[in-house]
């Protein structure tokens, strides 16, 4: 039962930020595509804007790994 909660916590740690990242990128993507159509020199800003929300899921992934390792659930 304990393993279940550890795995659930890890899944939530990466899953919720993944949804948040997806939502943020779904709003940023069209906006930045429209901006770049008019001003191609905004490509650097586009890279930054797309990469910024990814921080959430990346850190969520790290936290999930830490939960699994600390909880001893990694590797089965």
């Amino acid at each position: 039962m304990e393993v279940f909660w550890i795995v659930l916590a890890a899944a939530l740690a990466v899953g919720v930020p993944a949804l948040a990242t997806a939502w943020a990128q779904s709003r940023i993507g069209p906006a930045i595509a429209a901006s770049m159509a008019e001003k191609p020199e905004l490509s650097t800003t586009a890279i930054l804007m797309i990469a910024i929300p990814e921080t959430m899921v990346i850190l969520g992934f790290v936290v999930a790994l830490v939960i699994l390792l600390q909880g001893g659930a990694a590797g089965g």
């Binding site: 650097t44 797309i50 990469a51 990814e54 921080t55 992934f61 790994l65 390792l69």
Partner: protein
């Protein structure tokens, strides 16, 4: 690094200004700036004759650009041709006539080509209509008391047909026949035949419904489509010959006049630049003053050339640094050959200010290192190296593609080195087949050491950024430099305190680290203001952001391992190998894209945010227009 500049002043008799400008333009190294007016020294205005000349040159240039755009003479589209040499008024007058004549001729040919193209499109449209109703149209002439209407509807207007039928029925009863056919273009051809008695009402109806009838083109002479279409089809056979004739005429014009027009364009640009440069001179009744910047290393060349061509009539003196503001000085980035491709990664940003720090050398070291640590696979590294070699071989020197290939080459080297440290060759394939062993740690298992490595890299990178901020601001904004230095010390103290708290370091480090923090905190507030604690917290966040190096690295190796396991998991070995290769290909694609984006982000946000000072003036020396696109080896 940013090249050191010298501000120079040229002083000479006013009647030699044109000669000086000629020498400077040929030399092409002086970035001109208007001298400050003082006493009898005033900016030199263009004379009415020169102002008129400038207006005329702009007009000729407009004709030239239009003519060249229409003719597209041989050579790369952006080619500026060779240096034109100095032209006199007679030549400008000849070029004005030539440019006007060629522009008119080129525009006439372009209009003719467009008309032929339009005619072809029109005929094709009729041809489709004619093919659809051929039998009916051929008997059109024999309909004694009937009038035919030819209509094209767009594919999206299909529902308009039933409405048209209903309206016709209510207006003229059954005195009509409606034929429809979908054409290859997707449009719907409609042939409506009505009795001549009802023609007036039908025309009104079509007008009210805003349905446009296909007009029978007058140039083909017929009153009916069946008479006009055979002539149109005959014309369709003639069109390619006429189009080829227009093309040949255009090529002849380009061949005969293209090189002359390209030369004229360069000469006119040069003369316009000379006129602009004159306005940047200051003058008294008898003397002129020109000021500007040259790279310090090229200062001697300027003196020597002026002395050789103009003797001691013109004096070149170097102004001391106290006499000019560093923010006005133009910026030239000059890096060793190995680092130069990485300037492409800085280019999307505004230039760094003169006197600040050029981040190129740091990017050249850290960007491929971060990329390599994230991808870290000997196999992927070798594939990337091969790809980089091919792109480098196919690209032109000094192009963006060449820079990208060279950056990819550096990334490949770091990827291979990191792959050896992790013992990875296409994931765990190296371990299973080649007996490869990790020299440092195995990324599949040692997640915490990998995380520690990533955050430590972040700590080093952010601290380096803060130290660069200290160096960059020491002279211009000493308070900010102190603030950055204190922030760096506090970050180190926080790290020591945390490590001592979790007993990685001896607990004796904890108290001194906390004391350092307590002492440094008020200093930070004094130096940077009340927002400083927030900035400090954001720096700690920046360091943690480097955990993405570990996250992307683990994701990369896990995908590679999953790819390898497909070989045994899908029953058939051949299918398994195919899927494994596909999966590796996808992983390689992700490995090219994602680590690049994130390594860039770590530089642009976390690293540059600490010290980068944009707002530099681009070095634009007064020179020949045709030389602008070429690199300046003398400055490297």
């Amino acid at each position: 690094m940013i090249l050191t500049m010298s501000k120079v002043r040229l002083l000479g008799p006013r009647d030699r200004l044109d000669d000086v400008l000629r020498v400077l333009q040929d030399l092409g190294i002086l970035h001109l700036a208007a001298p400050e007016s003082a006493g009898a020294l005033a900016p030199l205005e263009l004379s009415p004759r020169e102002a008129r000349e400038r207006r005329q040159l702009h007009r000729i240039l407009e004709d030239l650009e239009h003519a060249l755009a229409e003719l597209r003479p041989p050579g790369p589209p952006a080619s500026r041709g060779r240096e034109a040499g100095r032209a006199g008024p007679a030549e400008f007058a000849r070029w004005a006539r030539l440019a006007g004549r060629v522009r008119r001729e080129a525009e006439r040919l372009a209009a003719r080509a467009a008309a032929l193209e339009e005619e072809r499109a029109l005929i094709l449209k009729y041809r489709h209509f004619f093919s659809a109703f051929r039998a009916l149209l051929e008997s059109e002439a024999r309909w004694p008391n009937a009038v035919a209407y030819h209509v094209l509807l767009r594919a999206s207007e299909a529902d308009a047909l039933s409405k048209l039928r209903t309206s016709l029925r209510s207006a003229i009863g059954e005195e009509f026949q409606l034929y429809t056919q979908r054409l290859p273009t997707g449009e719907i051809g409609v042939l409506l035949v009505v009795s001549s008695r009802a023609a007036g009402r039908v025309e009104r109806l079509l007008t009210e419904a805003r349905v446009q009838e296909i007009p029978v083109p007058e140039q083909y002479g017929g009153k009916t489509l069946s008479e006009a279409i055979p002539r149109m089809l005959a014309r369709l056979d003639e069109l390619p010959r006429e189009e080829a004739a227009v093309r040949r005429e255009r090529e002849r014009l380009a061949r005969e006049h293209g090189p002359e027009l390209v030369r004229a364009r360069a000469a006119i640009h040069d003369r316009l630049r000379e006129l602009e440069a004159r306005q940047l001179a200051g003058a008294t009744r008898h003397a002129f003053v020109l000021e500007g910047w040259v790279p310090r290393a090229a200062c001697g060349t300027l003196r020597e050339r002026i002395a050789r061509e103009l003797g001691d009539l013109v004096i070149v003196s170097e102004l001391s640094e106290e006499e000019w503001e560093s923010q006005d000085a133009p910026v030239v980035l000059s890096n060793p050959r190995l680092f130069r491709p990485f300037e492409a990664l800085i280019r999307p940003f505004p230039l760094p200010r003169y006197g600040s720090i050029d981040p190129t050398p740091f990017v050249a070291v850290f960007f491929p290192a971060f990329f390599g640590i994230m991808v870290g696979d000997v196999g992927y590294g070798l594939v990337l190296a091969a790809l980089a070699l091919v792109v480098r071989w196919r690209s032109r020197p000094e192009s963006l593609l060449r820079s990208a290939a060279e950056i990819a080459g550096a990334c490949a080297v770091f990827t291979i080195v990191a792959g050896l440290l992790y013992g990875e060759f296409f994931g765990d394939l190296g371990r299973r087949w080649l007996g490869l062993r990790p020299l440092a740690f195995n990324r599949e298992e040692a997640l915490i050491p990998f995380l520690v490595l990533a955050v430590s890299l972040g700590l080093a990178h952010v601290l380096l950024g803060l130290l660069l901020a200290v160096a960059s601001n020491l002279r211009r904004r000493p308070r900010h430099a102190v603030g950055s230095g204190v922030a760096a010390i506090m970050i180190v103290a926080i790290v020591f305190a945390l490590l001592a708290a979790i007993e990685v370091l001896p607990s004796g480090f904890f108290t001194p680290a906390v004391i350092v923090l307590l002492v440094a905190f008020p200093l930070l507030i004094v130096a940077e203001g009340v927002v400083a604690p927030i900035e400090l917290l954001s720096s700690v966040g920046n360091i943690l952001s480097y955990a993405r190096i570990m996250a992307l690295g683990v994701a990369s190796v896990m995908l590679a391992v999953v790819a390898n396991r497909m070989v045994g998991a899908l029953g058939s070995a051949a299918v398994g190998v195919l899927f494994a290769l596909l999966f590796h290909l996808v992983n390689f694609g992700i490995a090219l894209f994602s680590p690049t984006i994130h390594a860039l982000r770590l530089h642009y946000v976390e690293f540059f945010g600490k010290f980068y000072s944009p707002g530099g003036v681009r070095y634009a020396p007064f020179g020949h227009w045709s030389r602008d696109a070429a690199p300046r080896p003398a400055l490297r």
